[in-house]
Symmetry: C2
Subunit: 333 residues, 2 copies
């Protein structure tokens, strides 16, 4: 295993230290337990948003802490849920009396630990709601998951619900919007190869020289089939058709498109995927109102891509367009 790490047991801590040193204008990292807060928290009355989960998906979640998105992120070990204690502490740290929304990707460990943390918070009279993100259409149950997995669409929930909290919506409203975003988005990914978790030291799975894993999870969990390598257009069309058919997205819908790199794919290839996505959307009469292309929700250095479509109304689009200032995403600031 060749990785730019020192000790496999201190990967997350050292990475957080380097993150803090790069972004002290935006974030304030707390250690032992580890969580990331905004450098300049908003005052009384604002609903706070907390997310978290295993590390290795950067910039998610810590890279989305800041104005217009999250108030705190709680990183676990690589691909491992954080325990309830840091979640509880981070939640208490950001509560300003207006309540806290937990944004939780649907993995058994995350759901359980955020739930326990929420119970601990309620014992201290902190009001906590949760939205469980399950945008991945690839498989119904999976390694680590009952039901569908939460994947790249999580970033869109953090952006849009974050903007709602920023404009002063109350906890009911922010929860409603986050829930609606989740309900209106679908995602699916593919991998051309595995990634290597530092403390495991070996690739998370094996793929043949010409094989592709369709429906890959963001921890390298199996998808729904392995296929022979095909052209970018053919692979993209398979992602698109699965995603589209599931909601389903229909002619006249307006969507936010997220073409998300899994970490090890050149930006130029993500744009080739986007080209085909936009062609398919146009043929179906679906309007790409906004498009994001880049590495937002990664799986370490995995080569691959995921496609997320989010059906938007005027309100969601307005919130998507609102300013944000985080280490991993910036708009209008």
């Amino acid at each position: 295993m060749k990785k730019l790490v020192n000790d496999v047991h201190s990967v997350v801590k050292e990475s957080l230290e380097g993150f803090q040193l790069a972004h002290s204008d935006v974030v304030d990292v707390h250690f032992d337990p580890d969580y990331i807060l905004r450098a300049e928290p908003k005052g009384e009355g604002k609903v706070a948003l907390v997310s978290g989960g295993g590390s290795g998906h950067e910039p998610l979640h810590g890279g989305f802490v800041g104005f217009g998105m999250l108030d705190a992120a709680v990183p676990g070990a690589v691909f491992t849920s954080p325990t309830p204690d840091p979640i509880k502490e981070a939640t208490a740290a950001v509560d300003r009396g207006a309540g806290v929304l937990h944004i939780v990707k649907n993995y058994t460990g995350d759901v359980l630990n955020f739930e326990t943390a929420a119970e601990l918070c309620e014992m201290e009279d902190i009001e906590v709601r949760s939205v469980i993100i399950n945008d991945d259409v690839a498989v119904e149950d999976s390694l680590y998951t009952a039901g569908r997995r939460g994947v790249a669409g999580t970033m869109l929930v953090e952006k849009i619900a974050g903007a709602a909290a920023e404009r002063g919506d109350n906890l009911d409203e922010v929860t409603r919007i986050a829930t609606e975003v989740n309900a209106n988005m679908r995602s699916m990914g593919l991998a051309l190869g595995p990634c290597t978790v530092p403390h495991a030291g070996v690739p998370s799975f094996e793929l043949g020289e010409t094989e592709v894993e369709m429906g890959i999870g963001i921890h390298g969990e199996p998808g729904y089939r392995r296929t022979e390598m095909r052209t970018a257009d053919e692979l993209t069309a398979e992602l698109y058709e699965k995603v589209k058919a599931d909601l389903p997205f229909e002619s006249g819908d307006r969507v936010v498109v997220l073409v998300n790199g899994m970490g090890g794919t050149p930006l130029s290839e993500l744009y080739i995927v986007n080209r085909k996505v936009q062609e398919l959307l146009e043929a179906d009469g679906i309007v790409a109102a906004r498009t994001l292309v880049g590495n937002f929700v990664t799986s370490l250095e995995m080569p691959g891509v995921s496609l997320t479509l989010l059906r938007v109304d005027d309100e969601m689009l307005e919130l998507f367009d609102a300013p944000a200032l985080t280490a991993g995403y910036r708009k209008g600031m």
Copy 2:
């Protein structure tokens, strides 16, 4: 070779099409010949900045076209200089009567083709200046280069000179600032593995299971030595010492730090490298005035990292902090 491409001969064209579809608010891609312009060009009197070079380094250069940075970028085939014609056309398209600065990475093909394009422009009374970027301290001459190579620091020249042009500096002034940035910055990179150029179909070089190429070029050109894999801190210290000793950077200097991913390295590892860089700077009494960590000047999916230090004065820092709105870099907009 597993890549998200269709035809290896149309990689750049299709990628540009997908780029245009994602960023039509910022860029306007011209095809045959291929170059990227700002969607909303500034009017009369502004000095224009044009850069370009082989594709495969995205977001450089096309991702840095927009307010506060470049007026045009000219992409060649992957790792291959664009020919004089598109450079000439792009230059003519962005000239507003105040002259054009060419920002050219020091590779024989690029230098020659930009030079020829400049001569063609002068025949049409377009005033063109050039700054040759040669920030790589690794080797003095190299595959494709006489003298030092231009690498990740190019992005800092585009940012700072772009801001100078935006505030209304004339061609002499913009050229002076670009030249000063180049003179005050030094870079070096390392690779943990190769990348694969699509039309070549095989990795650009081979590295043993535990080998690292120190001083790698952004096209996979050899560095100054191969070494056994060591810890991130040890590898980072070698980059830092080479970069520091060359200018040299000294106690009391203020610097902009750029920890740049080569494409296939997880963000978490780049932050581990940044942690060590900041520790070394502090020990040397060098002030990290600003820090950038991310994939800005890549080599397709190469796993690796480069370090750039730029010694800044108040003017450079003010220009670095000025607003920018491009597909690949945003600040204050």
